[in-house]
Symmetry: C2
Subunit: 333 residues, 2 copies
């Protein structure tokens, strides 16, 4: 390779604005907000902060990445064989022998109030899913100032963030809203005593987690308003009181699927598949089909707790099953 002739490179006259020369005339600029100031630099070995915002009318929704797990496929789908699961993963360009299970919780901020929807693992489930607190901080949200935490169900990767490693309340002043049927089940001593031995720990974890919140825990029912602009949607089956949500914002509604489906490459594509985590698989499938049908028909944006970050997108009906189409990332709010 030889240097290009200086004559050519210097053959430049007065500078023309770039936009006028290459960009076609009539280009519409989306917004006129100036570039954000440079954020402090991340070292080359560090991943970008895992949060992402979108506007819903006057509300700002912030998705917070907690990290995730790699789950071996053996036994993960109750009614599909290993080969079928492996093929579904391969079709999604994922490793064929392990299901990557991302975890993303969220905040909804409007009118000076901050509402959390679920809380992540709280760093209690290993180092690959322990980014929630750092990403929440990166997003500028201090748990101590959060007004309300709405819990979808009592699995530990959703309620774990309510307490510190030593069991204290992380959300210092928030009211904690829990599905009525969920509370009734996990706090029922009879249900606990009848549960298989392997499940008793989950009962105990739920009890430990809510203990420091004492009189700040309030039950909510399906299909009611749980906070300004946030309505619960009945979605039982994954657990007895498992809840989805609809967030109203401007002329749109965002459907929060919670764990109605686990990874979309498996359970949105195959809504009849039963994840090992679903307590009542038939009821979970009914909830899943009902919400996916609704999301596809309404063409409304959805988020899923175990969808790849930021986990915002739409549901498209296909001949067999559905598919999740991630939404386009926006550089601006």
């Amino acid at each position: 390779m030889t240097p290009i002739s200086r004559r050519a490179a210097l053959g430049a006259a007065a500078a023309l604005p770039v936009a006028a020369t290459i960009m076609p005339a009539g280009i519409a600029l989306a917004q006129t907000q100036p570039a954000a100031p440079a954020a402090p630099a991340a070292p080359a070995g560090q991943q970008a902060p895992g949060f992402y915002r979108m506007k819903m009318g006057d509300a700002v929704v912030t998705r917070i990445l907690d990290g995730g797990f790699q789950r071996p496929i053996e036994g993960f789908v109750r009614n599909a064989d290993k080969q079928q699961v492996s093929e579904a993963l391969r079709d999604a360009f994922l490793p064929p022998e392990t299901v990557p299970i991302p975890i993303t919780f969220m905040a909804v901020q409007s009118g000076g109030r901050t509402v959390m929807l679920d809380t992540g693992t709280g760093g209690k489930a290993g180092p690959t899913a322990a980014f929630g607190a750092a990403n929440l901080a990166a997003a500028g949200i201090d748990p101590a100032t959060v007004d309300t935490v709405v819990i979808s169900h009592f699995h530990a990767d959703h309620i774990g963030g309510l307490t510190s490693q030593d069991g204290r309340a992380v959300y210092a002043k928030a009211e904690i809203l829990v599905p009525e049927a969920e509370w009734a089940f996990w706090m029922d001593d009879g249900a606990m005593s009848r549960a298989p031995e392997a499940m008793k720990g989950a009962f105990q974890t739920a009890r430990n987690t809510f203990a420091p919140y004492r009189d700040r825990v309030r039950p909510y029912r399906p299909d009611t308003d749980v906070a300004a602009g946030i309505r619960s949607i009945a979605a039982p089956g994954h657990t007895p009181g498992h809840s989805a949500f609809a967030i109203a914002g401007g002329d749109r509604q965002l459907m929060v699927l919670s764990d109605t489906t686990n990874h979309p490459a498996l359970f949105v594509r195959n809504p009849g598949w039963h994840a090992v985590f679903d307590m009542d698989a038939g009821q979970a499938e009914e909830s899943r089909r009902r919400l996916l049908d609704r999301a596809a028909a309404e063409r409304a944006p959805v988020v899923g707790y175990h969808f790849p970050f930021p986990g915002i997108g739409h549901i498209r009906q296909r001949e067999r099953g559905y598919e999740f189409e991630p939404a386009q990332w926006s550089a601006q709010l």
Copy 2:
């Protein structure tokens, strides 16, 4: 709603580790890297920094979001009517009357060296595509320390970042590698004089942009190694010397499509569609089909300059055309 009974909430015994109770036994943790320290907080009105990293063997690839444009669909696809384009956008859950054109350039860092692939608009094409410098800084990359800038072609949204608003070199010490055929075309006074009036500005912009780099500009040929682990791939048509790249990393290859296709919802789904930006539409289509065929056959990861951020994913062949499947975001490097 009434407070839940204190008895139930306080019925907690010794805390059990969360992972042991809910997470199925045998869960495989992907990595053991501890959570990153909290990044400084972003105000609620500010979007997350637009960068994303992935490892390719010993190399770290960093995608840098510059922002994007909204382009009215009128006249955007030369050989499809407005209705067809609108339907393709609608099928991707995008606004049916405007094409969102994101812009993402990238850095490849290995062995202590930093190589840029393209540079964004440099903030010269309006405020919606002026985030590149801030996001590069957020990623901890100082243009003054960059060793090499490899340019895919001379359109202003790729070379604009080479110079500041007042025309000085942004990459203070970098060698600038340019496609030989691209240089030959845009620096040819005859080609400039024969070009339609509307295109003369593009010639001038290219000349202005490279002027401050003088003896630091070097041409490269298609299908040659341009930097350690980075090989050019001939992909003419969009412009005379337009180049794609293959980045080697470990046992994988990342195919950098550059502008072989514009937005995937239009031109990956419909590789026979001709974007108004393609200078030789037939040759561009031949390059597009060749690279998409190869990407689908190899199942190798690809990135596209105008793919939704972070723009990393895979190409799946469909009965008619192809589709782009975004890769799953990783919380860790």
